[in-house]
């Protein structure tokens, strides 16, 4: 019998994704949606965008986080079943990007919740998003 760790068992196949769009410009959001559509089609790997974080294995975060979003992000992270993989997509969620100097900016995502993978780019191409998630899966 194969001895697998709990985490590698959980994240073995058919990841369900939940997408949290912070104060973003929408570019990363539409690129995430693009991953689901025929050209990239992540659904063939069993990945599915779900409506509630309670059903999700992966939490995708795009956009910079402002004061108002920060409360909601913490709330959503609390609701998520653990263990959960958190992926910061795009320059804004990785570092704050161009909005880091803004007056409502509440820190990059990793200052608020633990982040497992960063996918930089403005916006990252769908290929980059897929590559990032698979690299994360291999590591686990």
């Amino acid at each position: 019998m194969l001895k697998l760790g709990f985490k590698s068992y959980i994240f073995k196949k058919s990841l369900w994704l939940f997408h949290f769009g912070g104060a973003s410009c929408n570019n990363c959001d539409i690129e995430i949606l693009d991953c689901l559509t025929p050209r990239y089609d992540v659904e063939r790997f069993g990945m599915l965008l779900v409506g509630s974080v309670r059903h999700a294995d992966v939490l995708l975060i795009s956009g910079s986080i402002n004061q108002k979003d920060k409360v909601r992000l913490l709330e959503i992270y609390k609701q998520a079943p653990k263990p959960i993989l958190v992926v910061a997509i795009g320059a804004c969620s990785c570092t704050g990007g161009i909005f880091a100097e803004g007056n409502v900016f509440a820190g990059p995502v990793d200052k608020i919740i633990p982040v497992d993978a960063y996918i930089p780019g403005c916006p990252p191409k769908p290929e980059a998003i897929l590559a990032g998630i698979f690299k994360l899966l291999k590591k686990k």
């Binding site: 104060a23 559509t37 050209r39 108002k68 161009i98």
Partner: protein
Amino acid sequence: MKFDYMSKPTIIPIGPYHPLQAEPELFKLYCDGEIVKDVKWETGYNHRGIEKLSESKTFDQVFFLVERICGICSTSHPFAFANCMEEIVNVEIPDRAKYIRSIIGELERIHSHLLWAGLAGHFLGYNTVFMWVWKYREPVLDLFEIITGNRNSYAMFKIGGVRRDIPNNLVPTIQKNLDALKHKLDLLIGVVMDDPVIHARTKGVGVLTKQDIINFAAVGPTARASGVAIDVRQDDPYAAYPLVNWKVITAEEGDVFAKIAVRLLEMHESVSIIEQCLEGLKKEKEGDIEVKVKNVPEGMGTGRAEAPRGEVFHFVTTDGGYSPVRHKVRAPSYTNISTFKKSCVGQTISDATISLAAVDPCYCCTERMAMVYDYYNKKPILSGKDMIKLSQQKTEELKKKL
């Protein structure tokens, strides 16, 4: 006293993080039974303080900032800002730059309308339309990648011209992709316009009359679908739009179906504009894409551009320095969203969704102004009015100093 449950309105919140929406925003639908009685919109989840940030950036950097107001209309904002700055500097850009600007603007309109058509299909429960249309959107993004180097956020604009040229040997490739796209558009229009289910779901739903449009000051395809023929490209021509032949698409009905029709037919107009611009490019000398602008004088300027959703308006004050002193942005969704009060009220909840989606609301464009909240007890300490008062006080103080 017995509590009357029947007459108490039920509040159905949509958002702020709802599977229906790509962006965070909160709609509260006040319902009586299944009929929507009132809509309230709460926002601020997307506020980034862009106008303030703009004051700390140089004019060249502001282009990259305004591009990131909205990812879907990421050319309209730099377009309006460029028009605005060129009014202040008083410079006429070369024809080749005008054509390139218009090509990028129209390609963006096609990709935005396709994106919307897909999402509308998704809202109606037609996931096939969603997948199908987004597949056809990919060649447009490929064109963007060929021309500008990025799928979204193109960084093409600068004061006095554009940053990159479209070499003439690239024109046949673009033309080939456009031909393929035209064929796909014909298929799509045929299917959507003749589908009896789409007719049943969208005809007579979310009707906005001509008077409503004028009352709410709605712009873009929302206005054009109700018979108000406003289009900045025609009313206040900029870039290459006066140099090419095209017409403003309008419809009279004002319902969701009319909005679908206007958007789908507009894409054909856009393709025709791009083709004429490509012809124009061949006549102009390669590499003649910008006028060097050495410094920006003191002054005020306004710039407008027709985004896929309507008119984008930028206002900039300069003082002869390197960055704007004041930068005001008004995006089309700001006025279009207010029409929800008319289009959703009296509908069933299921029709409210498509009525909400029909104006193609874009929240990242809209969020310019916010209230100041006390972070700990969540009570507003400054409202919009107070902020205006504060800003007036600041003006008074500045007046005294100068």
